[in-house]
């Protein structure tokens, strides 16, 4: 056992953090800098990170979930407002169906956001249930699973005019509402998506949302520690007060524990049997989602009044954490699934 990064993983971690630090979001005002955002999206594409889960030629992905998690962590650390998770998951799913996606495509989720969106129909025509295209910035299409009554296949929804509608409440990743009855184009040649595929996709999605949560935790703690060292009351930095110190120390410890479970969950995706990978992912998501909530609330608190205003960056982290917590099932969902697994169904 050696849980350290390989030299290649360490180099990827370094370069991903560097890129995110250069082109990510440092203030709420940065969110309106469309030129920066376009350069960030282009840099992610140029780095080849969206292709990490593409087919390497033998059906296996080009890179393991560990590399994808390293990138997810780095991007969330700088609340990067360009698509990564959605397109990456769409490509992972397409690989399983033996397809290549010709245009920028993200993944559609069901209304609870705890799994892929679904449609009903046949191999030639289908219509969507109510679904949400997540991480849809720059995407032309969103994938759904078509249930034809004899196995699951992939279909795609053209986002087109929808792209101008409500974009959801995560300010860094667009969430588009796709109404029930929207036409779904069955993808010709889609192989069947097995239940094992879905378990692996869920394990991957949980592991990557954990990595996203951990990156966000580190980012928001850094912002908060910096703030309390500067903000003065009673003639001293508020960070000199033990009450404030202990809140941030706890946050730091929760982040460290979250990192330990999330690294293992990412490794487990490709290294363990799907059911064992899912258990590792559920453990990680339970821990990380709870920790992220506490840490982000602490960050709002230690910023005082400013922390409750739109222009303070903390809510950008908090909103992102809320979406990442929900994707593939939040902490309560995972905890109950683990309880059913280990304690027998209630």
């Amino acid at each position: 056992m050696d849980t350290r990064d390989t030299p290649e993983q360490a180099e990827l971690r370094r370069s991903a953090r560097q890129l995110a630090a250069n082109l990510g979001v440092r203030s709420v005002g940065d969110l309106d800098d469309l030129d920066r955002r376009a350069r960030l999206a282009a840099a992610i594409t140029d780095a080849g990170w969206l292709e990490l889960r593409d087919d390497s030629g033998d059906g296996s992905p080009l890179a393991s979930a560990v590399e994808a998690a390293i990138v997810a962590d780095a991007l969330a650390n700088a609340v990067a407002d360009a698509a990564f998770l959605g397109p990456l998951l769409a490509k992972d799913l397409a690989r399983r169906a033996g397809l290549e996606l010709p245009v920028a495509t993200t993944l559609a989720f069901n209304p609870r956001l705890d799994g892929p969106g679904t449609a009903t129909g046949s191999a030639t025509s289908a219509t969507a249930e109510a679904v949400y295209a997540v991480d849809a910035r720059g995407a032309a299409e969103a994938l759904v699973l078509i249930d034809e009554g004899k196995g699951l296949h992939l279909g795609s929804i053209t986002l087109g005019s929808l792209a101008e509608t409500d974009r959801g409440n995560d300010l860094t990743r667009a969430v588009l509402t796709i109404p029930t009855g929207t036409a779904v184009r069955p993808l010709a040649g889609s192989g069947e998506i097995s239940s094992a595929d879905l378990v692996q996709l869920q394990a991957l999605g949980l592991a990557l949302t954990c990595a996203d949560l951990v990156g966000g935790m580190r980012g928001v703690i850094d912002v908060s520690v910096e703030y309390v060292k500067e903000r003065r009351q009673y003639g001293v930095a508020v960070g000199s007060f033990q009450a404030v110190q202990h809140l941030l120390a706890e946050a730091h410890v929760l982040m460290e524990g979250s990192l330990s479970v999330s690294l293992h969950a990412a490794w487990a995706v490709d290294a363990l049997e799907p059911s064992a990978a899912l258990v590792a992912a559920r453990i990680a998501k339970t821990y990380c989602a709870r920790a992220a909530r506490t840490i982000n609330e602490t960050a709002v608190q230690v910023h005082g009044g400013i922390g409750n205003t739109w222009e303070c960056i903390v809510h950008v982290y908090l909103r992102r954490a809320l979406l990442s917590s929900l994707l593939f099932g939040d902490d309560a969902a995972q905890l109950n699934a683990l309880a059913d697994d280990r304690l027998g169904v209630h």
Binding site: M1, D2, T3, R4, D5, T6, Q9, V66, V225, V228, K229, G239, S240, Q242, V244, Q245, H246, L248, A249, E250, H252, V253, E256, G257, L259, S260, V261, L263, H264, W267, A268, A271, I283, T286, Y287, L335, N336, L338, A339, R342, L343, G344, V345, H346
Partner: protein, 375 residues
């Protein structure tokens, strides 16, 4: 990044698992039953003789010079077999290895590691708890011996100890952190009196007070240099905070397994909040196991004696207390109606984890000051 066993690790795991199947003494948990401590020495000796103790320590002193990650495997297998955890001595070994001279190391490390000589730790005093450097026990040079006078408290297993790793004041004229020196004090002398303390959960063999009234220790038994005591103590407490040194996660995993068994036997009789409490204790225990995997892997780059132990201590504390909370939740009313209820004992014992080895508040001070730079 790879969590799988290497070839050598797999062979070690198989060998230990087979040995454990024949040699598990089936002791009750150390935290809830005096019977554990009555037979702990046997368990230590058995592990040592079979070659399963002191895995990462130097061969010269009876160790095996294996990478530290082998301790994770040992702890996992102990938990799997519901066997007793390995004796928690790593922090004393780290303290001696880092600070003592070669003569002292040759004299004391082999007996400490083999279990032939038993040790206790004399740091805290009634008026020096979190403020350890305020301790008042004195060691005064008299010929080639020091004479010890003072009162130590929270001393675990002092009644069976051959030696005390004692922290005493040798110079009252300098600043309080600078006048301290560490010694290996022989416990078998009339000038040392033991006073056991009964713990919150009723166990009596763990904690005690030790009174030194003119006890004597050869000057040659000094651990480190005169005035180096504070640094020695900080090395020890930083490692005393590390679950990787202590092996406690095996104890937590064992308790969680017992709670899960109890609930799974009659799922319909437990409310959902009780189930969630048990599942959360499982999540925390797994988190701690994986955190130790990460920490011990990092040690492949070399041992760090820095403030990171405070992070690990808090994670360990939150884990133990989540296990304690799950235990009392599973017990329900029997926690109060059954005078022998073991879950209540587990719960009550768990409250000490946020105090022993430095309170959670002290750990947070260290993290805020030395890691986050807020002091």
């Amino acid at each position: 990044m790879d969590y799988r066993d290497s070839h050598e690790e797999r062979a070690f795991r198989a060998r230990f698992r087979a040995w454990l199947a024949e040699n598990n003494p089936g002791l009750p948990a150390s935290s809830t039953d005096d019977a554990y401590w009555q037979r702990q020495a046997e368990w230590h000796t058995a592990l040592y003789r079979a070659g399963f103790f002191g895995l990462s320590w130097p061969k010269r002193y009876g160790g095996h010079e294996l990478p530290t990650v082998f301790d994770v495997i040992l702890d996992e297998e102990v938990a799997r077999a519901s066997a007793p955890p390995r004796p928690s001595l790593g922090y004393l070994v780290q303290g001696l290895t880092r600070h003592a001279n070669d003569i002292i190391k040759d004299r004391f490390l082999p007996g400490l590691i083999s279990g032939q000589e038993r040790w206790c730790q004399g740091f805290s005093e009634p008026d020096a708890g979190s403020d350890l450097a305020a301790l008042r026990t004195t060691a005064i040079l008299d010929g080639d011996e020091y004479v010890i006078d003072g009162h130590k408290i929270w001393t675990s297993y002092s009644d069976v100890a051959d030696w005390c790793f004692l922290l005493a004041r040798t110079d009252a004229t300098v600043a309080k952190h600078k006048g301290l020196t560490a010694f290996a004090v022989p416990m078998n002398q009339a000038a040392i009196e033991q006073r056991p303390l009964k713990m919150i959960n009723g166990i009596t063999t763990e904690f005690g007070q030790v009174m030194f009234d003119g006890a004597r220790v050869p000057a040659a038994n000094m651990l480190g240099d005169p005035g180096e005591g504070w640094r020695v103590a900080m090395t020890i407490v930083s490692h005393e905070r590390e679950p990787g040194e202590l092996g406690y996660q095996a104890r937590y995993a064992k308790t969680v397994k017992e709670l899960e068994k109890k609930v799974a036997a009659a799922p319909e009789s437990f409310r959902n909040d009780v189930r969630e409490s048990v599942a959360w204790a499982y999540v925390q225990t797994e988190m701690l196991r994986l955190h130790v995997c990460r920490r011990l892997s990092e040690r492949l780059d070399g041992v760090d004696h820095g403030p990171g132990g405070s992070i690990d201590k808090l994670l360990m504390t939150w884990t133990e207390q989540s296990v304690g909370a799950a235990a009392v939740a599973v017990a329900g009313s029997s926690a109060i109606t059954d005078s022998e209820n073991v879950e209540l004992k587990t719960y009550l014992y768990s409250r000490a984890q946020s105090v022993m080895g430095g309170t959670s508040q002290i750990q947070k001070n260290i993290i805020a000051g030395r890691i986050l730079g807020m002091a």
